[in-house]
């Protein structure tokens, strides 16, 4: 079995069936292994249903192993931990998702808006890990970094009065018209392989 060949062909089915994630982690560098995880995740978008879930699950498992095997490289970029949390959410591993996002959040005194919003959504779905008060407090912290479409929509969602709701909805529309969006969290190591929605900046 030639892993290089499987990877060159992007034969993901063979990879999942025949190669353990740990084998990838011991055979390749951190960057290359992360690239493989990213490729799997990316191509899972074109494979619907269960194959997509197998690919994503494999990608998450690989990242978890990389986190243990290359702790130094992993910790260099907080987005690795946050991205792992986001990917855990994609495969319904919500507790793990929340744990990794919380770890990423704890790296900061003033966490970036993108991270807070992701953390709120994960923790607040469905109102399970974070209390309503915690969510409101975090959202007010995030809004200090500026009003984007996503931020304004989140604030409108939390509004308790019709007046507040109207005001945030108006701000959301303005942000949308001016293409002001919250940054997207993608690890530095995957940046070259990623195209995200236009007008959405990358988190630095």
């Amino acid at each position: 079995m030639d892993i290089e060949n499987i990877l060159r062909e992007k034969d993901w089915e063979s990879l999942i069936r025949k190669v353990l994630p740990v084998t990838i982690a011991v055979s390749f560098s951190f960057d290359k292994s992360m690239e493989i995880a990213g490729d799997l995740l990316n191509d899972s978008g074109n494979a619907e249903g269960d194959p997509a879930m197998f690919m994503r699950d494999y990608s998450v498992n690989l990242m978890i192993i990389l986190r243990e095997k290359f702790p130094q490289q992993w910790k260099v970029d907080w987005k690795n931990e946050a991205f792992l949390g986001i990917c855990c959410n994609l495969v319904y591993r919500e507790e793990e998702a929340f744990k990794h996002l919380k770890n990423a959040l704890e790296c900061f005194d003033n966490p970036p808006q993108s991270l807070i919003l992701t953390y709120i959504r994960t923790g607040g779905a469905p109102n399970y890990y974070l209390s309503a008060e915690e969510i409101v407090e975090l959202a007010h912290k995030a809004v200090k970094s500026g009003i984007t479409l996503e931020m304004a929509q989140q604030m409108a969602d939390l509004a308790t009065t019709q007046e507040d709701w109207n005001s945030w909805t108006k701000k959301a529309k303005e942000a949308e018209a001016n293409n002001i969006h919250t940054a997207v969290i993608v690890p530095d190591v995957l940046k070259d392989n990623v195209r995200t929605l236009k007008d959405y900046p990358y988190e630095k």
């Binding site: 995740l41 990316n42 978008g45 074109n46 619907e48 249903g49 469905p126 309503a132 308790t160 949308e176």
Partner: protein, 386 residues
């Protein structure tokens, strides 16, 4: 006297029959344009029955069969359309078939496309060269097994970029027209579709060279298939999309008729059957789960569905009840929040307030921009109430 009566019959009845056949053809074509393929088929059957000599009816029915995934019948009608009435009145009939085509090839060693244009202008040839390059690149990014898929996400690839290629002038013109349409369409409505490449095309179309225009449009088609443009199908876009789809199908059927790739045909049919059934359900407003885990996940106790739906305890029945509930509440028509995007993976959150509770549903769009349900729950506490 008998002869006179016979002449009168021929004089009066023949145009009537021809007119009826023509009317059926027009109706069939209209149904095709509005994706009503079953209806189109019955009209076109009648058109052919009344006037079997009209090449256009066969061509139109080939499109219907193609869309209904009856590829063998599509191919047979397409071939019939080429041999019947060669001097007829349709666009291409009085020209040699190959006059409509430029000839080109792909040099895998040099990674270059070359067009040897016999009937295209320089601008069109530049556009076509870029188009081929873009389709190949888009196709490589679009699907894992892109060569085995000739319909759905990559239906243009087979006709274009497999081997030595023949580029339909009609197809090139149709793609160019779609680019022009993008340039004249409000970019925000394009962004709504969550496809940055479309927005880019719309914004920069007029600044690009013909080669870049071709490359960008080819990339879109290679990656998503021509059906991506259906979502822009408003106003003028409908007819442009319809021209593009038609030209693409003709190019694809031409490739089929030149090859005997039955394996690819079978693969394609399987793929198209799956995509077709999902699309049909979505068109009817149904909520389709993204994967097999969705039902179990959605029905967790903490998701509070028992507050809104009378659950039975049977997972399949209960999930259907939830899906029907989301359909009834037209959740996909509510405002959506972009949640996550990573290349082709895009998730959106939809919310709707019902009484004191809020219904939340997370959908992921697939590569044809079709929303598939990933998660859904009821927020029962009203601190986020409006």
């Amino acid at each position: 006297m008998k002869k006179l009566l016979l002449c009168l019959c021929i004089l009066y009845l023949f145009p009537l029959v021809a007119w009826n056949a023509h009317e059926y053809l027009i109706n069939g074509t209209a149904c095709n344009n509005y994706l009503l393929y079953e209806e189109a088929l019955s009209h076109l059957d009648m058109a052919i029955q009344l006037n079997p000599a009209n090449k256009q009816s066969y061509e139109e029915r080939a499109i219907t069969y193609f869309e209904l995934n009856r590829i063998d019948l599509a191919l047979s009608d397409y071939q019939e359309s080429r041999k019947t009435n060669p001097g007829g009145s349709t666009k291409r009939a009085n020209r040699d078939f190959w006059d409509d085509y430029g000839y080109g090839w792909y040099d895998s060693g040099q990674q270059n496309f070359t067009i040897l244009s016999c009937s295209l202008s320089t601008a069109s040839a530049d556009f076509a060269t870029g188009l081929l390059e873009g389709i190949s690149r888009g196709g490589q990014e679009g699907t894992i097994e892109f060569l085995s898929c000739i319909r759905g996400s990559c239906n243009a690839l087979w006709a274009f970029a497999c081997s030595p290629v023949e580029v339909s002038k009609e197809l090139i013109n149709a793609i160019y027209a779609m680019g022009e349409h993008l340039a004249n369409t409000d970019t925000r409505s394009l962004l709504e579709e969550g496809l940055p490449e479309l927005v880019e095309c719309g914004r920069h179309w007029n600044e690009w060279s013909h080669h870049t225009k071709g490359k960008k449009m080819g990339y879109l088609i290679g990656k998503y298939g021509v059906s991506i443009f259906f979502y822009l199908g408003v106003g003028k876009g409908v007819s442009i999309f319809s021209d593009l789809k038609r030209a693409n199908m003709m190019a694809t059927l031409e490739r089929y008729s030149l090859t005997k790739s039955t394996k690819i045909l079978r693969e394609s049919e399987k793929c198209a059957q799956k995509n077709g059934s999902v699309l049909k359900k979505i068109q009817n407003g149904c909520v389709i789960p993204h994967n097999a885990n969705v039902a179990s996940h959605v029905l967790q106790r903490k998701h509070n569905w028992h507050k809104m739906v009378k659950l039975t305890g049977d997972k399949d029945v209960d999930f259907k009840l939830v899906a029907d509930f989301l359909k009834k509440e037209s959740i996909l028509n509510c405002e959506r929040i972009h949640e996550f995007s990573f290349n082709s993976i895009r998730t959106y959150r939809y919310k709707k307030k019902i009484g004191k509770n809020t219904v939340v549903a997370v959908f992921e769009t697939n590569n044809q921009n079709v929303p598939l349900l990933r998660n859904a729950w009821i927020e029962v506490k009203p601190p986020h109430g409006h």
